[in-house]
């Protein structure tokens, strides 16, 4: 492997227009405020769930409804907020449509409203995975406290809207990328692979655009199975005599869900590529290895979803083996290129750990350690003991809350001077980060330990050994993290709400410049 020469980042593409940038700025500010409020609220609902498991404070029907709201909301809001942040990051490189951004926002907010109504008004409580045929079969009698199947419509339509919103995001990223680079190959860096361009050449692509493009391709085709399963389940709701094979339905649901969750973390990487170099004062360029890593991710991201069906022994054993091999293989590009690259980038860089790089670096740690927990669980012989235990929320909270959300916060802290005209408080950010990281790691490690003790997931308050004790430890962590969440959410509102006024001009605050680096 040859060492790739280091040159400054590729020159920025033309600024598309002042008006477009101002509209983009305001729209991003709206995204940040909406996402910030929703994420903070959903995080507090997570605390309420742990409180209920510890003390039984909520009735079961409320527990499962809030569990569904927390799970679906966190996945979808994190996804859309990350997509909006990536949109803002690549806005100067790609001629993205403001109108499409507004449409995506409207779809996402509509979906959020529908899920809130279905869960809080209708007590829809299937968990975010809404496995067929549970939405239309809440139990022997809705009068016993379950939900009326009519509420299922709202939830299922909301899922379709989120998949549609992300597909629209993907389609617009791809359209703009082709316009900007002339063809998809250059957008994805195939000219770097073939040797026609060198890293840092003018008009070569960037790591953020490659990552966004790969997620865009996957996002566009994920909407198809997502739409199919939602339509079939809507028909089943309307007429329960219409049935389908439950294994087929589960495959479609988990394929769609698995992809949407993975988009979260990979979009986080797109943010890290763009932002971390500004603080390390070193370039992070697209090169042949990075391009090949992301192109392999485009394929490898698809097949690990079989690991969600390991305990469905009717699924052909060969597919379980594919699931295990693909789960292991899909970790390689991330671990070898992106995470290793991030650590290398900051090594002896004279880094000052302000909130933006702190959150980004913490995101790499959450992604890596959560990934190890997921890999252990993606081994069928281990999954027999961990499937549907608290090990599962252990690993996905690690790479979602302590990975993807950390990348999101890193991006927001970096871009806020540009979006809102003034920065978020470094002091609040630094203290808040310490609360979130300390409490967050207590939460996730308690989940992992509970999973190793065979404590089931998705259980309301119940008297089984170790259940309450472990929930109480997790609750302590959640309370510590909540302090940081509230501090940062409050600061976001303080800084952003005045800037949402249309009279505020676009503030010309530059991001930290790159220093001269050797070529």
């Amino acid at each position: 492997m040859t060492t790739i020469p280091i040159t400054p980042q590729a020159p920025a593409a033309p600024q598309w227009s002042t008006h477009a940038n101002e509209a983009n700025r305001r729209m991003t500010a709206i995204w940040v405020v909406t996402g910030g409020v929703l994420l903070a609220g959903l995080a507090l609902l997570g605390l309420l769930l742990r409180l209920t498991q510890s003390t039984g404070v909520l009735p079961d029907r409320w527990f499962y409804a809030i569990l569904t709201l927390h799970g679906a909301g966190m996945v979808a809001v994190t996804l859309m907020a990350l997509a909006a942040t990536v949109w803002y990051i690549v806005r100067d490189e790609l001629p993205l449509s403001h109108r499409v951004n507004v449409t995506i926002y409207c779809l996402a907010v509509t979906a959020a409203v529908l899920v809130v109504i279905a869960t809080l008004a209708g007590h829809f409580g299937t968990g975010w995975t809404f496995l067929y045929p549970l939405p239309s079969h809440p139990g022997p009698s809705a009068a016993m406290g379950g939900w009326n199947p009519a509420w299922s419509y709202l939830y299922e339509v909301a899922v379709a809207l989120v998949a549609l919103a992300f597909a629209l995001w993907g389609a617009e990223i791809l359209r703009a990328g082709v316009v900007r680079f002339g063809n998809p190959g250059r957008m994805f860096g195939l000219d770097l692979v073939s040797g026609h361009s060198k890293p840092g050449d003018p008009n070569t692509t960037t790591p953020s655009i490659i990552a966004a493009g790969v997620m865009a391709v996957n996002g566009v085709f994920t909407v198809i199975p997502g739409a199919v399963i939602v339509i079939l389940m809507l028909i089943n709701n309307a007429n329960t005599s219409f049935t389908m094979p439950a294994l087929f339905a589960k495959e479609l649901i988990y394929f769609t869900g698995h992809m949407l969750v993975n988009f979260d973390i990979y979009l986080g990487a797109a943010i890290a590529y763009a932002v971390l170099p500004a603080y390390a004062k070193r370039p992070w360029q697209a090169n042949r290895v990075l391009v090949l890593a992301w192109l392999s991710t485009m394929i490898l991201i698809i097949f690990p979803y079989f690991h969600h069906l390991y305990m469905d022994f009717a699924q052909p054993t060969g597919l379980a083996i594919v699931g295990q091999v693909a789960s292991y293989a899909s970790a390689l590009p991330s671990a070898v290129v992106t995470i290793f690259g991030g650590v290398l980038l900051v090594y002896r860089s004279g880094m000052k750990w302000t909130p933006a790089p702190l959150f980004l670096f913490a995101g790499f740690a959450g992604w890596t350690i959560g990934g190890v927990g997921a890999l252990i669980d993606s081994t069928p012989s281990v999954n027999e003991y961990f499937h549907n235990t608290l090990w599962v929320p252990g690993h996905f909270h690690t790479y979602m809350a302590l990975g993807a959300v950390m990348f999101l916060l890193g991006g927001v802290y970096h871009a806020t001077p540009l979006i809102a005209g003034k920065p978020l408080s470094e002091r609040i950010g630094s203290i808040g980060a310490r609360f979130i990281l300390t409490g967050g790691w207590i939460v996730v490690l308690t989940f992992f330990a509970s999973g190793a003790m065979s404590i089931p997931r998705r259980y309301a308050h119940v008297s089984i050994p170790r259940f309450e004790a472990m929930a109480t430890i997790g609750l302590v962590g959640a309370c510590i993290a909540a302090i940081g969440v509230l501090m940062i959410a409050g600061d976001v509102l303080r800084v952003y709400l005045p800037g949402l006024s249309p009279q505020v001009p676009s503030p010309p605050v530059p991001a930290p410049p790159l220093e001269e680096v050797p070529s």
């Binding site: 094979p245 439950a246 070193r282 022994f313 009717a314 054993t317 379980a320 290793f340 002896r348 081994t379």
Partner: protein, 180 residues
């Protein structure tokens, strides 16, 4: 030691090693700034070993774990071996298990299905550790082969969210001692 504890300790060791690595990197990042060219050059060489090391680790893990998959392809005994067949049906919110008493040391084949929604047939030991599980899915029969080594009562829990009274969906398998 139960397999879940072994996996838990492997993970704990990973957390300690990786956590120490990230903390070391974060502290090292404060020093400098050093010239990036030699760091970059050395880093790319190290990355090659990192890649080969991870590949090797993955292949070793595959080699060690694939033979222990819980599927009938691996666990189904030779045709001459006597097997006790237990029919299990999940329904909101109870289990029908027939017969519910089996013999220690004998291979048991659980034929597991559901009459309504997805359930998860989870078998625990007396120490509240999972010893085996398989999904109960409507329209599908899953086959789980197990051999209980110790006599006793093995609690059964539903592990797949199946509605409001999901946590109440419990039962038990009685394992009696082998004769003689």
């Amino acid at each position: 030691m139960p397999p879940e504890y072994v996996a838990g300790f492997v993970f704990l060791a990973s957390v300690i090693v990786l956590g120490a690595g990230f903390i070391f990197s974060a502290r090292a990042a404060r020093h400098g700034p050093d010239d990036y060219e030699p760091i970059h050059h050395t880093g790319y060489r190290v990355r090659r070993y990192w890649f080969v090391g991870l590949m090797a680790l993955g292949l070793i893990a595959l080699g060690l774990t694939l033979p222990h998959m819980p599927y009938p392809l691996v666990r189904e005994p030779a045709s001459a071996t006597p097997v006790t067949v237990v029919h299990v049906t999940g329904q909101q919110w109870y289990w029908t298990i027939s017969p519910s008493t089996v013999t220690a040391g004998q291979v048991v084949e659980f034929e597991v299905t559901s009459k309504d929604v997805n359930h998860d047939f989870g078998i625990y030991d007396a120490n509240s550790n999972i010893v085996g599980q398989v999904q109960a899915m409507p329209g599908v029969t899953n086959h789980l082969y197990m051999t209980f080594k110790k006599p006793g009562t093995y609690p059964v829990r539903c592990l797949e969210l199946c509605g409001l009274d999901h946590t109440l969906m419990t039962s038990a398998i009685i394992v009696k001692p082998a004769k003689g």
